[in-house]
């Protein structure tokens, strides 16, 4: 299959490098606005939950980071697949740079879940289906990062990582269902459900802002990470020489 030309143009490292700075700044501004709105709405405006009291406010970071952890894995696998099939360097870079961000969101989802669990369940850790599958997801991320750092050649590393991410993405639904099945059979403590069937609007709107904030945070930091990756990938290309070399002359 042939790709339309504009994708290749956007995928050219030089073009992307020029665009990304501008893009990452604007996205960062949107991100900060969303964070301010979400935090103010979530911490101040939203009323305390009638069952969980104020502890439900942890939801405003737990839920978005849990969503992002899965979303970023998907981005990683799709970008890796694109890099594998069409050999687009930029896709490889996106896949590589996503991994640490995704791992840190997964870590956040786990830690905030445990902290939330302490007042709700009475213990830090419960073998709850979501926490367990989140933990396995963290292992998948760490495996990917370990594989990346084991190779010396970046391009080989990116392609090997793409295969691992694709295998992981096939596995994730299986892991999810197996863990869900397993935990419903082993359910020890009576769990107060974290998600309510209906959530009040004053609680929902801050959550949506936080989700948006996390998403834009991912995009913005991904762009910055990609910029330095591009420079390292392309350190022998003429446009990098021109860009950084001429800077020096003018100084």
């Amino acid at each position: 299959m042939k790709l339309p030309r504009w994708i290749h143009q956007f995928g050219s490292p030089k073009y992307f490098y020029e665009l990304s700075l501008w893009l990452s700044r604007w996205v960062a501004i949107v991100c900060v606005i969303c964070f301010v709105c979400g935090l103010y709405g979530g911490l101040v405006l939203a009323p305390a939950d009638y069952q969980q009291g104020d502890s439900f406010r942890i939801m405003y970071i737990h839920v978005p980071s849990a969503w992002m952890s899965l979303f970023i894995y998907m981005v990683m696998a799709v970008a890796g697949g694109i890099g594998l099939i069409w050999r687009i360097k930029l896709a490889e870079i996106v896949a590589r740079s996503s991994a640490p961000i995704g791992a840190s969101f997964t870590f956040l989802a786990l830690v905030t879940g445990a902290i939330w669990g302490k007042p709700m369940w009475g213990t830090w850790w419960v073998w709850d289906a979501r926490l367990t599958s989140e933990l396995i997801l963290l292992f998948l991320y760490l495996g990917y990062i370990a594989l990346q750092s084991a190779f010396e050649d970046r391009r080989v590393a990116a392609r090997a990582g793409a295969i691992l991410a694709l295998v992981g993405i096939v596995n994730i639904p299986i892991i999810h269902y197996s863990v869900e099945w397993w935990s419903t059979l082993h359910q020890g403590p009576t769990i107060t459900k974290m998600d309510k069937p209906s959530i009040h609007l004053s609680m929902l709107i801050p959550l949506l802002f936080m989700v948006l904030a996390f998403k834009t945070f991912f995009i913005s930091t991904l762009l910055i990470r990609a910029r330095s990756e591009i420079l390292e990938y392309e350190c022998n290309a003429s446009w990098v020489k021109q860009l950084l070399g001429s800077n020096n002359v003018t100084k």
Partner: protein, 61 residues
């Protein structure tokens, strides 16, 4: 609502603020690390190109 009331979070203050604190820390690291890395890469490459420029005329003469 007083500040104290806000900070205590109805008795859940430690849990809420510790999780928000950890998140802030992780997000901060995620911002600062790539920025520092890009700066370092740019500086290294600039240095490299500088030495290349200096050496080129030498090798010609």
């Amino acid at each position: 609502m007083s500040l104290n009331e806000f900070l205590s979070m109805g008795g859940y203050g430690t849990y809420v603020w510790s999780s928000y604190g950890i998140s802030a820390l992780v997000l901060f690291i995620n911002v600062i690390q790539p920025v520092l890395r890009e700066r370092k890469t740019v500086r290294e490459l600039q240095k490299r190109f500088q030495t290349m420029q200096q050496h080129q005329p030498d090798s010609k003469s």
